[in-house]
């Protein structure tokens, strides 16, 4: 080092300046690489969102055809003698609306297959709602068949030879006539957001799967959050440090890395085979996913508890707070943002999980919206998986539309997490 008086080190020397320049160059290069990584990641994301949205947006619209329906009690098989209101309502809900629609379509459109096979359901619901319609003639917009859908959405490639277009020339001609008469329109597909799955793509809805997902997540959260936080508190605050707790700790860390399908097998063996619970029920799915989410919550809660400044613990103990009071009044409130973040990460993963749910039977075709946690249900990712496997052309856009719904749910969950975190975050 420099001895008294003579300074050997010259900060202005050429070497030093070159060193400074090199440092700046490295700094800039590093920053550019980082920025590049961000741009690549962002463009992947943008590309993904763009393809999904452009494919899926059609799933929210459907072709509807105008039919003049004569609600003739004779065709519907409703007796005029059904005088009491209740009897009339039962009669309407039992009535077969299919012949009514078929004959109207045949007469007015020239082909009954232009109307969806399930179009009569909505017509019946309308009459059940308003029985005074019986005997009158109304113009009604009914759901069109899938080929009307793809024609109305312009998804038919007319450059192809007629036999390779997927729709017959006669259907195309019928579609053109309907358009000239103004009897076809593209409308908001309300059924997609209110109905459950269906074998007809134009009738299939996401609502059943969404409710299934919500019920499943409620079970998962209700079980894994308290269990996970309690486990973390016990391990952090009470457990003695010995071999046994070391083993438990390692096991929990390993559990978090176990592939999800293994949890599905566990759920199958324990909840279905041993306890004989209902296959495909949200309660089983929720329990299985809770097993999977638990280690994530335990680990993040432990980290959050560990990062509480020890001075806060000392302060509380020093004033005579019991262990329980220290935990409840000081540690958990301060650790809560971290605990919540971990919980949401675990839940997001569970929400997007497919494999373990397939194993416990959630791949069943469920055409009803579940009304409880023990009724057969499906969940969003499984619904996406099932639809992506369908051959029908209408299911392609349904798949993307369902992905949009799943992403929306995920994003709102994360938004809630961020809100909660900011609300509970304290500075010191």
């Amino acid at each position: 080092m420099s001895q008294s008086g003579t300074r050997k080190l010259d900060w202005q020397s050429k070497e030093m300046q070159a060193r400074v320049r090199r440092r700046y160059v490295r700094e800039r290069r590093f920053r550019r690489v980082g920025l590049g990584a961000v741009i690549i990641a962002a463009s992947f994301l943008a590309f993904l969102l763009f393809t999904i949205t452009s494919n899926g947006i059609g799933g929210f619209r459907r072709a509807e055809l105008a039919l003049d329906l004569n609600y003739d009690p004779a065709i519907l098989g409703i007796q005029a003698s059904d005088s009491s209101e209740e009897a009339a309502a039962t009669a309407v809900s039992r009535a077969d609306f299919r012949p009514l629609l078929a004959s109207a379509a045949q007469a007015q459109l020239g082909d009954s297959s232009l109307v969806s096979e399930g179009a009569w359901l909505a017509v019946r619901d309308q009459v059940v709602e308003d029985p005074s319609l019986i005997g009158t003639t109304q113009r009604v917009w009914v759901v069109g068949a899938p080929n009307m859908d793809i024609l109305a959405k312009g998804q038919v490639d007319f450059d192809l030879a007629p036999d390779r277009r997927g729709v017959s020339t006669a259907t195309v001609a019928a579609y053109r006539t309907l358009r000239e008469e103004g009897r076809i329109r593209l409308a908001f597909n309300s059924g997609f957001l209110t109905q459950a799955d269906s074998t007809n793509s134009e009738l299939a809805g996401i609502w059943g799967a969404l409710i299934g997902s919500i019920l499943t997540m409620a079970i998962t959260l209700g079980i894994s959050f308290p269990l996970g936080v309690m486990t973390a508190v016990y391990l952090e605050e009470y457990a003695p440090k010995n071999k046994l707790t070391d083993i438990i700790e390692v096991s929990i860390n390993n559990l978090a890395a176990v592939p999800s399908i293994i949890f599905g097998l566990l759920g199958l063996a324990v909840f279905l085979n041993t306890f004989g619970m209902q296959r495909s029920a949200p309660v089983v799915g929720g329990l299985t996913l809770a097993l999977m989410t638990l280690p994530v919550i335990v680990i993040s809660s432990r980290v959050a508890l560990k990062s509480v400044p020890p001075s806060i613990r000392d302060a509380a103990l020093g004033i005579g707070a019991s262990r329980l009071q220290v935990i409840l009044h000081h540690l958990i409130p301060v650790a809560l943002p971290g605990i919540l973040t971990g919980t949401i990460i675990g839940l997001s993963r569970a929400l997007g999980e497919t494999a373990p749910l397939l194993l416990i039977g959630m791949r069943a075709f469920v055409s009803d919206v579940p009304e409880g946690v023990t009724e057969p249900a499906t969940v969003l990712p499984v619904q996406i998986f099932l639809w992506s496997d369908e051959v029908g052309r209408g299911f392609v856009e349904k798949t993307s539309a369902a992905i949009m719904v799943l992403l929306t749910v995920l994003l709102s969950m994360n938004a809630v997490a961020i809100y909660l975190r900011n609300k509970f975050e304290r500075r010191w």
Binding site: K241, P309, S311, I312, R313, D314, A315, A316, L317, G318, I319, G320, A321, S322, Q325, H329, H330, V334, R426, R427, W428
Partner: protein
Amino acid sequence: MPDATVVHDEVVMADGAKMTARDVDVFYGEKQAVDKVSIDVDSHYVTAFIGPSGCGKSTFLRCFNRMNDTIDIARVGGRIELDGKDIYDPKMDVVQLRARVGMVFQKPNPFPKSIYENIAYGPRIHGLASAKADMDEIVERSLTRAGLWNEVKDRLDESGTAMSGGQQQRLCIARAIAVDPEVILMDEPCSALDPIATARIEELIDDLRGNYAIVIVTHNMQQAARVSQRTAFFHLGNLVEYGGTEAIFTNPRADRTRDYITGRFG
């Protein structure tokens, strides 16, 4: 090398003081941090612990409210009594003990809650106030005693962590006296503070003397001389010399004390 403690006649130890420590040992694992220390603490004097870094002052201080219990590897031997009762007796309730023997830490550590909550927390968990008015009174009295009331009375809702270091430390003292303890242990309470804040806390300690038995650990010899009436000098886990503050500083009897006081080591 460890000689017997030099105890001055004026502090001759007899049972009957507020707190008495007899032959206290503390081990961290295999390592002994405090070796056979005996001392008395009472309310008509302030006791200062001085000594070079690492000599076991904090460790010994933490024996008086059993804060060493929170360190897994720490083991305490010997006998410490509060009003003649062994505080390490399994029947002794450590929560009550810590309310009776309060502690102020080296680094100000207010709770990340409002100023009001910081003071009210202790009385609330010990059930000292039932009505809101009682609690308000305790908060005002504690803050007044700590010389903080006038500065914070208009912003009791603000966070205790948003105050200056000196204010935070006085808040911690107010928090400690809010549960009306009998003994207050202070571990270098002024080490993070500027001279003005330090002077205020020294004044405060002087005011509190008589009502509370106070023990203060300090590295600042002038501070020990200013605030304490008795001084204990520790070295390598031993209590080397214990006597009246004035005698220790002007006329130390042990060689090691003299070396330390005159700045030859430490």
